[in-house]
Amino acid sequence: MTDSSSDCTCEDEYVFYRNRPHWKDVTPVPQDDGPVPVVAIAYTEQFREIYDYFRAILRSGEKSERVLELTNDAAQLNPANYTVWQYRREVLSYLNSNLGDELVYIGEIITDHQKNYQVWHHRRVIVEWMKDPSKEIPFTNIILAQDSKNYHAWQHRQWVVATYNLYDSELEFVNDLLLKDVRNNSAWNHRYFVIIHTSGFTADTIKHELEYTAGKIREVVNNESAWNYLRGVLCHTESGNISSEEFVLKFCEDLYETGCRSPYLLALIVDICEELFELGTSNTVFSVQRALQICDDLALEHDKIRKEYWKFISRKINQALLNRSTD
């Protein structure tokens, strides 16, 4: 392939399309921006010319190596133009181009524009065409090493893993990421994604995951991601209740006894107390009175930014108490 990104990046050497002998036969087509343009852009001469040629090609329908070069230049100047990518794909398909080369090329573009939807979409289509996902895990590893929460990279990885059944090493990958940063919410989400599509949340898996997560919470208690995951696992117990696992009740109580007042711990205790009350199985440790007390503690001391919210939860619980007593 003859893509040369240098055409665009080195102003000194740049040769305008109108001065390129092999483009002499094409008459550029100007943009029709209506009688009075709004939100106009002061295009550079280079931008204007490249898109004038791109419009000419859309009109003629030419599909050739030189058009691939043109789409490269157009995409470099605005990688968010989905039509440029779409047309490029049509040319690749028509020329039966080497898709391995295209994958390398789009990898470079993504590296420069990691949060652009269109370039990730292009990569996905190329992978689909090749029916070869072998480069994708290593590629997303590189992007995630730079930003471990990049939504596009995660989306691409989950698509590849699910489509080509590549779950085998994913849990290990998640474990490594959580060792590096236990607060990485994307990694916790991926953990859930992998388990639900492989072993599923069997009784053994639930036990293992609760213990693993409890260990991670002990390392860093103020970590919403781990607490959310713990609740996510509890949804898969037989009853689906957050109060259903003795292990979790004891874990919460131990943390509380040792002086932990993380808002996420306190919130879970409130929810457990409320749930047991609804189920009619309150006990002296997880009582509705304790839930009310903890709501006050959260509002006044441990989670002041959510003061109004905890007062609201407290009112809600009081209302439930009232309804119960008038039943």
Binding site: Q31, V39, R59, K149, S186, N189, R231
Partner: protein
């Protein structure tokens, strides 16, 4: 800290004129920038800064971007109906063909939403819109899994375009633009284990996509039937937990001005916006304001840009900041524009 209303109005007025060459990455989404500027001026109650002539120019330019089949056109042409994001693909007529003859000139669901929104804010009656045809253009973007792609000219499919499609259907008062049941399935499939919504099934829950999901259900009128009381309570919890000073979009991510709208509007739709800490949210947002050029940034001490400027104002509107008019949380348009829309709906019902 003071809210610098006049400077923000001037910022938007500048956007409507000429952007510098380094803004070329906005070239395919100029309509979106136009929407931010016009809707931003509306929220600031400064639409009168636009002369009647300028308003006409904007309206004409927006209509210039409309790809709209005629009733006699074939199905494939109807499917491409909607607003384009810019005139990049609009070619001057060649040898007598119409200017939209290039098959790549194609509506984009989110641009159709922002195009219609811009027209409504400017008081247009949408009489030049063939509502059936534009709805069919939206419908053509729906996928078998219920999601929407942005455009038939090759794009990814996800929750953002489900929202845009729902907003267009609501505005056109024509739900033939989507299979609601299928769209609802996709939304519910995207509900994560931590009780908020992701861009698609299995992905990480996210403030922006949660807005898209919740606002879509609300526009469909099914929010309280499709989600149980418990699910709604848990969703409220997730949203309320996003506040640190301003709001973040995911657990353990930094706060960012745009989530004051995405998460704030979601809480408003869920009837519990008053439970947030308003002064902390306001202080964070105003700390990202540029007092010299106007505009807001994503984070404190970073550069202002159109999207964050607009959503910072939208977030402040939810807070009822003096000087701003109220925003309709689902449609992300001023209440005034939505009242105008509802009057049009009554007229359409009578015709």
């Amino acid at each position: 800290m003071d809210f610098n209303q006049k400077k923000h109005a001037r910022y938007f007025l500048r956007l409507l004129n000429v952007l510098p060459s380094h803004a070329s990455n906005y070239d395919s989404t100029r309509l979106l920038v136009c929407f931010f500027a016009v809707s931003g001026l509306d929220l600031l109650d400064e639409l009168d800064q636009l002369t009647p002539e300028k308003k006409d120019h904007i309206r004409e330019w927006v209509y210039h971007l409309l790809v709209q089949a005629k009733n006699s056109d074939g199905e494939d042409v109807v499917a491409r109906s909607g607003f384009q994001g810019a005139s990049t693909l609009i070619l001057p007529p060649a040898t007598g063909t119409v200017c939209h003859s290039v098959p790549y000139a194609c509506g984009h669901v989110s641009m159709t939403y922002t195009g219609l929104g811009t027209l409504l804010i400017l008081g247009d009656d949408l009489s030049r819109i063939n509502r059936k045809v534009v709805a069919a253009g939206v419908r053509a973007c729906q996928q078998p899994d219920g999601s929407f792609c942005a455009t038939l000219a090759g794009s990814e499919c996800d929750m953002r375009f489900v929202y845009s499609a729902a907003a267009v259907c609501y505005i056109l008062k024509d739900w033939s633009g989507m299979d609601k049941g299928l769209a609802t399935d996709y939304i519910l499939q995207s509900l994560s284990y931590d009780n908020a919504f992701a861009q698609g099934p299995g992905l990480e829950s996210h403030g922006g996509h949660t807005f898209c999901a919740v606002a879509s259900l609300s526009l469909m009128g099914t929010l309280h039937t499709m989600l149980s009381t418990k699910q709604l309570d848990r969703l409220r919890r997730w949203c309320i937990m996003r506040q640190e000073s301003g709001f973040n979009g995911r657990p353990n991510k930094p706060v960012d001005t745009c989530y004051s709208f995405w998460v704030g509007a979601t809480l408003k739709i869920l009837d519990c916006y008053d439970l947030i800490n308003k002064s902390e949210n306001r202080n964070f947002t105003l700390a990202t304001q540029d007092n010299i050029t106007g505009g807001f940034a994503k984070w404190i001490s970073t550069d202002v840009e159109p999207l964050h400027t607009y959503f910072a104002l939208a977030g402040l509107s939810l807070l009822k900041e003096p000087g701003l008019i109220q925003i309709h949380p689902e449609l992300n348009l001023s209440q005034r524009a939505v009242e105008h829309l509802h009057k049009l709906h009554l007229q359409w019902a009578c015709n």
